[in-house]
Every structure is written in structure tokens, then in C-alpha cells.
């Protein structure tokens, strides 16, 4: 298949594969790999959503016997919680925006024919896929899935005897995370090398679309963070299987000494959150880049403050490594340390506010086109603000100590990291679907999907702020028999009903996605009248992205409504615009 010395570092050109296996399974084409990541994330999100459905059912009908599953026991509830969080964080929020859309569109948006290392790219997907399978295997082994939460706090996660699911299930969980880290690192390596070395002529760093900047910064975060998580996972596996005591202190289980001594559970927390907080930005930065793009495209205006947006993303990425301790205010850390982490955390509000201000500035006086991708982009801004505004509350140790174990935190991170990022994924799907599949998605169904999801997300998570402030504890499988929590049951019932409707509405999206692939209206090469390079090539793009043509970039990525220009948009590869002052 190779036209030259293939499978080597630095070689990216390869002939279009012919057979099904080479074309769709073990493909080297970044577009196919992007689709593979996307559909992996799609499968994962429905698994994760199903688990949340079971949790929501259990919370309001704790003794209900479910078909095939029977009554959900407290330990099963913890397993559902663990697997829901792990699947969503790693295999959805990290996989779809970066592995999916990043893989598909980063090379095209910078004018490259492929990723720098196509073989590595293929390996990174299949490694991630293997990680997902290993994780799912935890459901079916003896003892079932682990119950230590997606954060895997020791010593619960470090002792095989700590509970059901902490045997082989927990080993599979850790192994899956380690495999995922390796896949993510391979992907990050490719993203960074491709961005730095394969940009088309004229595509300077400050002409890159903000999506590319977001993928690039996200890759740097991944490069620095996943190695640390991998190291923590190795230490945890050693504690569990080789009798070491990195994370386990002198502790008894059922009155029996475990044989461990001297380890530090806090050491796990430090290592985990050094990864864990940047992971929040790994999930949301691609959505930030995409929504910046969409707000400009559909407002028909240049993005407000392009450079400020770039520097804000860099600042967020940098500060993201300085604030892990705010997840550990409950650990009894020195108040001075807590104060430092608190100040740094609130400092992230500054670049975040700059971005929000610039998004609003982009919309201001724009000729807004309320298409479905635009609705989701605006929805993202709304959710980002709503979820973000509770951040400064939790960044203060005295408040966090009260709120930390409550639903307030669930509301905060689901809105900012979960739903906002998911809105980014939806926006990206509706926006790039025509380029990927050559057809338009049904706009009516898309808007119905948006409104149900948007209202549903708020209906689910806004009440959690109040129940959290009222003292409703998270991770508890049942609240119906505890006096002060029992009073909050009507809120839980409301949240569950909202969740059922919101989950059901996702099938509208699923139907629209597959129906439009076959029956959607044929798309033109540039249906949104956008400026970036992916819209200059055929729909869907050919194997080498530009059909033997090499784009040359003359303009910035957001040249909309340029006075004197023949159209209200100037593409990046159009002749150079020199506006008279």
C-alpha cells in the first residue's frame, strides 16, 4: 500500500487503501481514525448514560426490581457511579473532542495531508479501544466492577479485600486507565508534531483557527498529565498485587491487618489530581475552541480578540497545573497551602472571563444565524457561565469543606465539564457532519434535540445546587430513609424525571445522525459559508485531503464581513486581503 519507504517516522503520505480492513478497520487515514474515535465515544456515551439512568431510577425507587438486574444494592450503586464517571471522563469527554474531531479536522485545517505519524495514529486509536474493552470487562468478572469512584482513592482502591469489585474488577479498571494513558500520549505526540511541523505555507501560528489552538494546547496538557496518571496507576497496581505500600497505611479490613504499612493515601490524591485537574481542561478546551469558531461563523463577524483568546487558552492550560490541591481541601492540608491553591484557582476565572467576554463581544451586533450548531455553541457559553460561576464558591476552602461531599459539587462539574463539553461535541457534530458525510443533518430534529437537551440539562443540574446546599450527600445510594435527606426527595424525583426525558431526547440525535447519513439533503462543499481550509476541499474530503492540491494560506481564520470584499467571508486560501485604513 505504501508508495515509498513506509511505516517510518516522518513519512505521512500513503496511497488510498482499497480493502475494507485497511480502509475502515486498520486505516492510516486520519479522517477514518477520527470517525473511529467518534463512534467509540458515541458507544461509550450511551453506555455511560445507561448507567446514570440506573442510578437515577435507584435514587428515587431504591427497592425497585429492575428487569434482568433485580434490586440495585448499595455496592452496585457505587460500581455504577465508578463506571459512569470513568467512561464519561476518559472515553467520551477526552475521546470525542480530541481523538474524534481533532483527528479528523486538525490536519485539514492546517493544510496537511495527514498526521505526522499515521501508524502511531492508528495504534493510538486501537490502544484506546482496547482500554475501553478492558474497562467493560470489569462488569463481567467475579465481584463485578470496582466501587472506588472514578478518582480511585486509596486505600479503598489499593486493597483487594476492601469490597466487592475491588478484586479483579479494580485491576481491570486500573489497567484500562493505564492503556488509555498510553493511547492518549501517542495521540498527543501526533497532534503536537503535526501542528508544529506540517502547517501549509502561510499558515502561521497566529493564523491557525482557534480549534487548532485548542487541540494543540489540549495535546500539551495531555502530554504532561497522562504520564503522571500512568505512574500513579503503576504504583497502585504494585500496591494491589506485589505487596508494596506506596498508598496504603497500616490498616485493617474486617479486623485483620492487611500487611501494608506506611503508605500515604494522600500521595495518591496528589498524583491523581495533578492529572485530574488538567483533565477538566482536556475535556473542555476543544469545546472552547470550537465554540469560538462557531460564534464567529454564525455571527458573520471576526472573533472578538483572537490573540486574547489564544493567550487565555494558554493561561488556562498553564494555571490548570497549579490548582490540583483545591480537590483536596478536605484532606487537612495546611491553611496556607489551601490559601495558595484557592488564589490560583480563582485566578483561572480571569482568562475564563476574558473568553466569555470575547464570546459575547463576537455575538454583539452580529448578523446571527440560528442554525443548530450555533444554538449548541450559545448553549455551551450559557452552560460554561452557569457551571463556572459556582467554581469560585468551591475554590474557597471554608465553603468547600461544607459543600465538598454534597450534590453542589455534582452540579458544578457536570455543568462545566460534562454538559458544556457535550454541547461542544454536539455543536461539532452538527457543524462538521456535512463535511464528514456529504449530507446535511435534519435541522428541525436538531433544534428539537437542542431545546430538549438544553432545558433538560438545566432541569437536572440546577436543583442539585439547592439540594447540595441543603446537605444532600453525594455517593449515597439511598436517601429515602434518612430524615434530613428524606425531605429533599421531591427534588430528587424532579431531577430523575428530567433525566429520563433528557436521556430519551438523545435518541432524536441518534436517529438524526444515522438517518441523515443515508437520507440527508446533499451538502455543498461550504454550506455554512465558513473560511477555514476544510471548507475549501471536496465533501467528503479526498484521501489526501486536498486532491493533490496544496493550499496556500493568505488570510486569518475569521475574515467575515470584510468591507470591500466581494462576499461576506474571505476564505483562508483566498487572495490576500489588505484592508485600507
Amino acid at each position: 500500500m505504501a508508495t515509498h519507504e513506509s511505516g517510518l517516522p516522518g513519512v505521512h503520505e500513503h496511497a488510498a487503501p482499497q480493502g475494507f480492513i485497511r480502509k475502515w478497520v486498520f486505516s492510516l487515514d486520519h479522517k477514518v481514525i477520527g470517525l473511529q474515535y467518534y463512534f467509540l465515544a458515541l458507544a461509550a456515551v450511551f453506555v455511560g448514560m445507561f448507567l446514570s439512568l440506573l442510578m437515577r431510577i435507584h435514587l428515587i425507587w431504591p427497592t425497585a426490581a429492575l428487569p434482568f438486574l433485580g434490586e440495585i444494592k448499595p455496592e452496585t450503586y457505587l460500581s455504577l457511579l465508578t463506571m459512569h464517571g470513568t467512561i464519561m471522563v476518559f472515553f467520551v469527554l477526552t475521546t470525542a473532542p480530541q481523538g474524534g474531531f481533532g483527528n479528523y479536522f486538525l490536519p485539514i485545517q492546517i493544510g496537511a495531508p495527514d498526521m505526522a505519524f499515521p501508524v502511531l495514529n492508528m495504534l493510538s486509536f486501537w490502544t484506546t479501544f482496547l482500554g475501553f474493552i478492558v474497562l467493560l470487562a470489569a462488569f463481567v468478572v467475579t465481584g463485578g466492577a470496582p466501587l472506588h469512584g472514578w478518582t480511585g482513592y486509596a486505600p479503598l482502591s489499593a486493597l483487594q479485600s476492601a469490597g466487592p469489585g475491588e478484586g479483579l474488577g479494580a485491576d481491570l479498571w486500573i489497567t484500562s486507565i493505564a492503556i488509555f494513558c498510553i493511547g492518549a500520549l501517542m495521540g498527543a505526540l501526533n497532534f503536537i508534531t503535526t501542528t508544529l511541523d506540517m502547517r501549509a505555507k502561510g499558515m502561521t501560528m497566529m493564523r491557525m483557527p482557534l480549534t487548532v489552538w485548542a487541540w494543540f494546547i489540549t495535546a500539551i496538557l495531555g502530554l504532561l498529565a497522562f504520564g503522571v496518571l500512568l505512574s500513579a496507576g503503576i504504583l497502585l497496581l504494585m500496591d494491589r498485587n506485589l505487596g508494596t505500600s506506596f498508598f496504603v497505611p497500616l490498616v485493617t479490613v474486617n479486623g485483620q491487618l492487611t500487611g501494608h504499612k506506611g503508605g500515604s493515601p494522600l500521595l495518591w490524591q496528589h498524583l491523581f489530581w495533578f492529572f485530574g485537574h488538567p483533565e477538566v481542561y482536556i475535556a473542555i478546551l476543544p469545546a472552547m475552541g470550537l465554540c469560538s469558531q462557531l460564534l464567529s461563523v454564525f455571527s458573520r463577524k471576526p472573533i472578538f480578540g483572537y490573540k486574547a483568546m489564544v493567550y487565555a487558552m494558554l493561561s488556562i492550560g498553564f494555571l490548570g497545573f497549579m490548582v490540583w490541591g483545591h480537590h483536596m481541601f478536605m484532606s487537612g492540608m495546611s491553611p496556607y497551602t489551601a490559601f495558595a491553591f484557592s488564589i490560583m484557582t480563582m485566578g483561572i476565572g480571569v482568562p475564563s472571563a476574558i473568553k466569555t467576554f470575547n464570546w459575547l463581544g463576537t455575538l454583539w451586533h452580529g448578523r446571527i444565524r440560528f442554525t443548530s450548531p450555533m444554538l449548541f455553541a450559545i448553549g455551551f457559553v450559557s452552560l460554561f457561565v452557569t457551571g463556572g460561576i459556582s467554581g469560585p464558591f468551591l475554590a474557597q476552602p471554608v465553603l468547600d469543606i461544607y459543600l465538598h461531599e454534597t450534590y453542589f459539587v455534582i452540579a458544578h462539574f457536570h455543568l462545566i465539564m460534562g454538559v458544556a463539553s457535550i454541547f461542544g461535541i454536539f455543536a461539532a457534530t452538527y457543524y462538521w457532519f456535512p463535511k464528514m458525510f456529504g449530507r446535511m443533518m435534519n435541522e428541525t430534529l436538531a433544534k428539537l434535540h437542542f431545546w430538549l437537551t438544553f432545558v433538560g440539562a438545566y432541569a437536572i443540574f440546577m436543583p442539585m445546587h439547592y439540594s447540595g446546599m441543603a446537605g444532600q450527600l453525594r455517593r449515597y445510594s439511598q436517601g429515602t430513609e434518612v430524615a434530613w435527606i428524606k425531605a429533599l426527595t421531591p427534588i430528587q424525583v424532579f431531577i430523575s424525571i428530567a433525566a429520563f426525558i433528557t436521556i430519551a431526547s438523545q435518541f432524536i440525535f441518534l436517529f438524526n445522525l444515522f438517518w441523515s447519513m443515508a437520507k440527508g439533503k446533499k451538502a455543498s462543499d461550504n454550506p455554512w459559508e465558513a473560511t477555514t481550509l476544510e471548507w475549501t476541499t471536496a465533501t467528503p474530503p479526498p484521501h489526501d485531503n486536498f486532491g493533490g492540491h496544496t493550499p496556500v494560506v493568505h488570510n486569518g481564520p475569521y475574515e467575515y464581513s470584510v468591507p470591500g470584499a466581494p462576499r461576506d467571508f474571505v476564505m483562508q486560501s483566498d487572495p490576500e486581503i489588505k484592508a485600507a485604513h
Binding site: H4, P9, G10, E13, R199, G202, V228, S245, A579
Partner: protein, 245 residues
């Protein structure tokens, strides 16, 4: 970015390289040469860049181990017999063999560098000759690559032997936190070095099969940089265990 002015001037488009016309001026950043095969220099640069990026997570892995090492070393543990907090960090007496292993790895790093320069020179000569009329393979060449491979394997064998000596002295992986770290750090380093050995093996097989010289040169070049990194990393690990343990 767009500027809000009243008029705009549109220049003539520049001719793209695939038209075989004059290549447009490069402003900065972009280096891609079009859909044709990238030249040797581009491929080498890209491969090196990829390698240096790949070294960052390896570095982060060992930085993370180091932080765990330092933290764990200072932790007290409860003695259930006396109910007092005591330190359970018992320094491990490192086998002297590790010194010899260090020497072997440093020598292998030198031979790797000589192998890199050797194949790079051959590759450049091949480029200069532009054809088969000038032979580039007549001189007797020292098999630096094979020597590196042998030295690398010798180092790994030496590490394995050192593990056995540790075990013979009663230091197993779970005996004391310091011995846990010795096994962890040496094992993680050996696993990474195995990757370098695999790359050398691939380059060797390609050589036997008369694979393209330039390709082999790139493989050897990036492996050499990786190998030097592994040698430096080992010196760091050895010092950490020896002087901070």
C-alpha cells in the same frame, strides 16, 4: 484579522507549488512541501521533533516517581506494638554491579553516537553521489550498531543480575519502601530501554535486508537520541537511589 475599513485591496493569488510554478514565499511556520514525498531533511526533522515530544511524558513519569520517592521517604508509620510513629524506610545497599552496569550503558551511549554518525555520513554520501557510480560501502566499517545492541543487552542482563543479588540479600519488592522503589525505578527504566533495543533490532534487520539507507539513518538517529536520554536517565536514577536513599 479583519479590519473595519471601507475598502479592501485584493492581491493576485500566489501560485501553489503543485502547479510547478514559483513557490510562494514562506511567511513563517509553514514548512510542508506538498503532497510529494518529504525529503530526507524534512523526515529527519519531523522524526526528531516527534522523539523529543515523546520524551516529555517519559520525563513526567520519572518526575512523578521521584516525587513519590521523596514523599514516601519522609512518611512516618504507626508501629502497632509500641503505638509510636516510626520511619519504615530502610536504605537498600545497592549491588556494586550497578556501577559496572552504569559504565556499560555509558559506553553503549558512545557506541550509539558513533553508529549514528556513521550511518548519517553514509546517507549524506549517498545523497551526494546521486547514483550508484560512487560506492559508499567499500570501506571496512566498525559495527557500532551491533556493539550498542550487545552492550544494551549486557546492561539489561546486568540489571537482572542485580535484582537477583538484591533478592539474595533479602530485599524483595515489598520488603521496605526503599526496595520497592529500587525495583520500580530500575524496572521502569529497563522497560524503556527495551524499546530502544527493539528499534536497534529493527534497524539491524533492515540493514540485513538492505532496506533503504536513509530510512535506516532516520531510525538510528532518533534511537540514538533516545538512547542518550536513557543513559542520562539511568545516571539520574542511580544517583537518586545512591545519594537520596
Amino acid at each position: 484579522m479583519a479590519s473595519f475599513s471601507t475598502t479592501a485591496t485584493i492581491n493576485e493569488p500566489e501560485i501553489s507549488r503543485d502547479d510547478r510554478g514559483t513557490p510562494p514565499p514562506i511567511r513563517d511556520g509553514g514548512n510542508h512541501d506538498g503532497p510529494s514525498l518529504p525529503d530526507y531533511g524534512t523526515r529527519l526533522r519531523r522524526a526528531r521533533l516527534g522523539l523529543f515530544v515523546a520524551l516529555i511524558p517519559v520525563l513526567m513519569l520519572f518526575v512523578s516517581f521521584t516525587s513519590a520517592y521523596v514523599v514516601r521517604q519522609g512518611l512516618p508509620t504507626l508501629d502497632p506494638r509500641t503505638n509510636n510513629f516510626v520511619r519504615d524506610w530502610i536504605p537498600v545497599e545497592l549491588p556494586r554491579l550497578l556501577l559496572l552496569n552504569t559504565f556499560v550503558l555509558l559506553v553503549s551511549s558512545m557506541s550509539m553516537e558513533l553508529a549514528r554518525r556513521q550511518i548519517r555520513a553514509r546517507s549524506m554520501m549517498e545523497t551526494a553521489s546521486m547514483g550508484p557510480s560512487i560506492s559508499v560501502g567499500d570501506r571496512i566499517r566498525v559495527p557500532w550498531l551491533a556493539m550498542t545492541l550487545v552492550l544494551g543487552l549486557a546492561f539489561l542482563f546486568g540489571q537482572w543480575t542485580a535484582w537477583n543479588q538484591l533478592a539474595a540479600n533479602g530485599f524483595y519488592v515489598s520488603t521496605t519502601p526503599s526496595s520497592s522503589f529500587v525495583y520500580l525505578l530500575t524496572g521502569a527504566h529497563a522497560a524503556h530501554l527495551l524499546g530502544g533495543i527493539a528499534a536497534l533490532f529493527i534497524a539491524g534487520v533492515a540493514s540485513v535486508l538492505h532496506g533503504p539507507l536513509k530510512t535506516r539513518s532516520i531510525v538510528v538517529d532518533v534511537t540514538a537520541w533516545y538512547w542518550h536520554f536513557m543513559a542520562l536517565l539511568w545516571v539520574y536514577i542511580f544517583c537518586l537511589m545512591k545519594f537520596a536513599g
